[in-house]
């Protein structure tokens, strides 16, 4: 692209380094020599996308081979997007400043529903035809993956192929297969047919949804006979077998997470019934402590980062956590690197660790009880008791913590006002504990409440979300009860949560809503300052979409779900059973203490299932 023109743009925008590339450890290659050029698209700002470890993992793996050149592209901020449109500069990759439309394949990672409009905006800025069905042979193949691909239908009109599951193996294989096909002169359609039966590959154009008179999905009619009835997700059986990056890209500008990161394990055995990640990333697959330590050391060496963090769904569930934490603490101390351990379960060992690593600067201590009463916590299978919290808080106060953060969800199935009272009670009790400790001084409890969004592939996938009116009533109810000294109350916007809920369980018709929202100018909807409910309301009207149908409607037990086409390898019967147990307030144990029958072991080895039996 024209360097002078780029300069002219960069001189005018905020944080121009979002668009320059050239950071430490980026892949520098001769694009001519790659058989396939791939743009990794993150549909949000650079600072968000560069904090996402999945990007670093896949970037590293793809660029290991000379056959593939993986470059990055992010959503431009509104000031840059406006200038690009005005000056007719198409969206480009950071590495080589190549126009996106000249890439072979453009892939988007789907981390959260509210970034979907960003995909349309990026395609439009790139001058790539939005609708997959109208895209030409000379345009890139547009693919997508990530957790939101487990309900791909709202994006089906715009995406040629979804890749479901762990990407480390299936993404490079898919790209090479595409290179082979194009070199042999196959058309895109011919290629898609050849790839349709591969594990993890969902080609939406090979299926046509049919609807019942009441608007629910009747069935998926196959338009290509070799397409599978259900698409199985890709699973890496042992994550020790796949490479993990040590040469992380180090951004120039500050990002959300600016640190060395090692993934300790994938998956979670806790079985919280609202949690999609807990279902779709099964089974738990751990890295060895030696591997983790080695990766951490190499990352710190190659990046110069001053902070190290561990990545997993639940840090202290790592089977050899004490050994690992002790080793890393020593290592970090020696190297003047600070260690950050998110989502610790606060037992006595974790406390010692936390006290050691936060010796001088104690950040807030965070608990996520998610619900205000034991009854409701049993319903959602969140295995944390009030006594767990209080004993941890008592210790924390003794050790000098002065800031406690509590996370709750409202609108959970079977919730009553009593459960909301429970939230206020917990906050009040914690303040009381501080009073009783006799250690005056500043003390603060922050209660953050988010709105429950039922997700696909969870035991709560059939549940209704609260109406906007109900959410607001509950916010008011809580605000009144949390007007206490030393307590801060935060809550999420209900409009955003409802919008998220539409796409979380939406069907293919929601693509129309997305398109209208894009035309209304909706962008960066995950950002409070950019989300505009009025635009979304107009878009729903134009698209003829009744959002209540997707949000506050309880699904029938035998209803065909739009995401049934995706097989995440957890049995539907397991989800149904878990849902029944939720209604009878019955908990399910962590499956490290004995298999709970989710069915994942039909597909792959479940190495940690039942280890404490």
């Amino acid at each position: 692209m024209d360097k002078d023109k780029l300069d002219y743009l960069l001189r005018q925008v905020e944080k121009p380094a979002r668009y320059t590339g050239g950071e430490l450890n980026i892949a520098v290659k001769d694009p001519e020599k790659a058989r396939v050029r791939f743009a990794f698209g993150f549909p949000d700002l650079y600072e968000i996308g560069m904090s996402y470890m999945g990007l670093q993992i896949l970037y590293h793996i793809l660029n290991k081979t000379d056959d593939i050149y993986c470059e990055r592209v992010f959503s431009p901020a509104p000031d840059m997007a406006e200038l690009m449109r005005k000056e007719d500069v198409p969206l480009f990759t950071l590495e080589t400043k190549t126009a996106l439309k000249d890439m072979d394949v453009v892939g988007f990672t789907l981390q959260y529903e509210m970034s979907f409009t960003g995909i349309l905006d990026m395609l439009d800025l790139a001058g790539i035809t939005l609708f997959a069905g109208e895209r030409g042979e000379d345009e890139p193949l547009v693919i997508a993956g990530g957790p939101c691909a487990y309900n791909p239908e709202p994006l089906a009109d715009f995406i040629d192929v979804f890749l479901i599951g762990d990407g480390e193996k299936c993404l490079p294989e898919f790209l090479i297969k595409y290179a082979d096909a194009r070199e042999k002169g196959l058309s895109k359609a011919e290629f898609l047919r050849s790839a349709a039966a591969d594990t993890g590959v969902y080609v939406p154009s090979f299926y046509e949804p049919e609807y019942n008179p009441d608007g629910t999905v009747k069935s998926y009619r196959k338009l290509y006979e070799n397409a599978p009835d259900r698409v199985e997700r890709c699973i890496i059986d042992d994550i020790e077998d796949v490479d993990f990056p040590t040469d992380l890209i180090v951004p120039f500008i500050e990002t959300v997470h600016d640190r060395a990161v090692v993934e300790t394990f994938r998956g979670c055995t806790r079985g919280c019934r609202f949690c999609q990640a807990g279902m779709i990333y099964r089974p738990v697959r751990e890295r060895k402590p030696e591997t983790i330590r080695e990766l951490a050391e190499k990352q710190i060496m190659s990046t110069g980062h001053e902070e190290l963090s561990l990545l997993s769904l639940s840090t202290s569930d790592y089977s050899r956590f004490e050994e690992l934490a002790t080793g890393l603490m020593e290592e970090c101390m020696e190297k003047n690197v600070s260690l950050s351990l998110p989502s610790l379960r606060l037992d006595s060992f974790s406390f010692n660790v936390l006290n050691e690593i936060q010796k001088y600067k104690k950040s807030g201590l965070t608990f996520a009880p998610e619900a205000g009463t034991q009854r409701l916590r049993d319903v959602i299978n969140k295995g944390i008791t009030e006594e767990d919290i209080y004993s941890a808080v008592r210790q924390a106060i003794e050790l000098g913590w002065r800031q406690i953060k509590l996370y709750f969800m409202i609108g959970l199935p079977t919730e009553t006002d009593e459960d909301l009272d429970g939230i206020a009670e917990i906050a009040a009790n914690i303040v009381k504990l501080h009073m009783e400790s006799g250690r005056g001084g500043r003390f603060n409890v922050t209660v953050s409440v988010s709105n429950f969004v039922p997700k696909a592939h969870t035991p709560f996938q059939w549940e209704s979300q609260d109406t906007a009116v109900e959410f607001r009533r509950k916010h008011d109810y809580l605000r009144a009860r949390l007007k206490m000294k030393n307590v801060t109350f935060n809550y999420h916007d209900d409009e955003v949560s409802r919008c998220e809920a539409v796409f979380a369980r939406g069907d293919r018709r929601c693509g129309k809503l997305l398109y209208e929202a894009f035309k209304e100018g909706c962008r960066l909807d995950g950002w409070a300052e950019h989300f505009d409910p009025e635009k979304w309301a107009r878009a729903a009207e134009k698209a003829g979409i009744d959002t209540d149908f997707y949000t506050c409607r309880k699904r029938g037990a035998s209803e065909v779900m739009p995401w049934d086409i995706i097989d995440c390898s957890v049995l539907r019967s397991y989800l149904e059973k878990e849902r029944e147990k939720a209604y009878s307030e019955e908990t399910t144990r962590d499956c490290r203490y004995g298999c709970t029958g989710c069915g994942i072991n039909r597909r792959t080895k479940c190495a940690l299932g039942g280890i404490y039996e």
Binding site: Y8, A17, G22, I253, E254, G304, E306, Y360
Partner: protein, 225 residues
């Protein structure tokens, strides 16, 4: 005390990396190559390093300096080799020298700077560049609007005395020498504003480019042992 100064240039795309981000970059790079940086004391220790003079976002620098302290003496030629290999594209390290113990910080010694300003050809409005610049300099006062730091208000200020030399330096290039540093400072941005105002043409600020070619210090600081 082990004080060192490293001279470097900053060209190409990396000029869109801000002052604070450049500080982080140098901090990380020096850590990465094993330089034993000295840290400040206290609850929030930070390494002792700083640039001689901040550089505006988007400007190139032909010769810029970063000063730092280490807990033990370092081999400067080895440091330079390692730093050269570790720096991202656009940062070239030129030399690394010990700083005399008994001098002020480099930042306190900067008094002026030399710049090359790339101007759009239409700035001169068909006039001879020599004539244009000498007429510009010959004005009784050169008043521009400047945003005051304390209350963010736009105030008028006369920058004439802070411009030491301004003259053409080739096709569409101007040479500027101006006050720089903590005592008296003139941002080339203001000179560009004044040039646009003086020319009366419709050139845009974004059509200009600035390179800071050298920093001039008030005294000797290099330890040449």
């Amino acid at each position: 005390m082990n004080r060192y100064a490293m001279e470097f240039s900053k060209t190409g795309m990396i000029r869109y990396t801000s002052h604070l981000d450049m500080l982080r970059l140098f901090k990380r790079t020096l850590r990465k190559i094993g330089v034993p940086l000295a840290y400040s004391q206290g609850f929030n220790p930070h390494p002792k390093l700083g640039f001689a003079q901040p550089l505006s976002l988007g400007y190139e620098a032909k010769s810029d300096y970063i000063e730092f302290e280490t807990v033990s003496p370092v081999d400067t030629s080895e440091l330079l080799t390692k730093a050269a290999a570790a720096m991202p594209e656009g940062i070239k390290v030129i030399r690394c020298v010990p700083v005399l113990d008994n001098v002020k910080s480099l930042a306190a010694m900067v008094i002026s700077a030399e710049y090359t300003i790339t101007v759009p050809g239409t700035l001169y409005g068909g006039r001879n560049p020599e004539e244009f610049t000498s007429d510009f300099i010959a004005q009784d006062e050169i008043v521009v609007e400047k945003r005051r730091k304390k209350d963010k208000k736009l105030v008028e200020t006369d920058i004439k005395d802070k411009i030491e030399i301004l003259k053409p330096a080739g096709d569409n290039l101007l040479y500027l020498k101006a006050h720089c540093g903590s005592a008296s400072n003139l941002s080339p941005d203001l000179v560009i504003d004044a040039l646009i105002k003086f020319s009366g043409s419709d050139v845009r600020k974004y059509d200009f480019g600035v390179s800071r070619d050298s920093l001039i210090f008030s005294g000797e600081w290099e330890d040449d042992f």
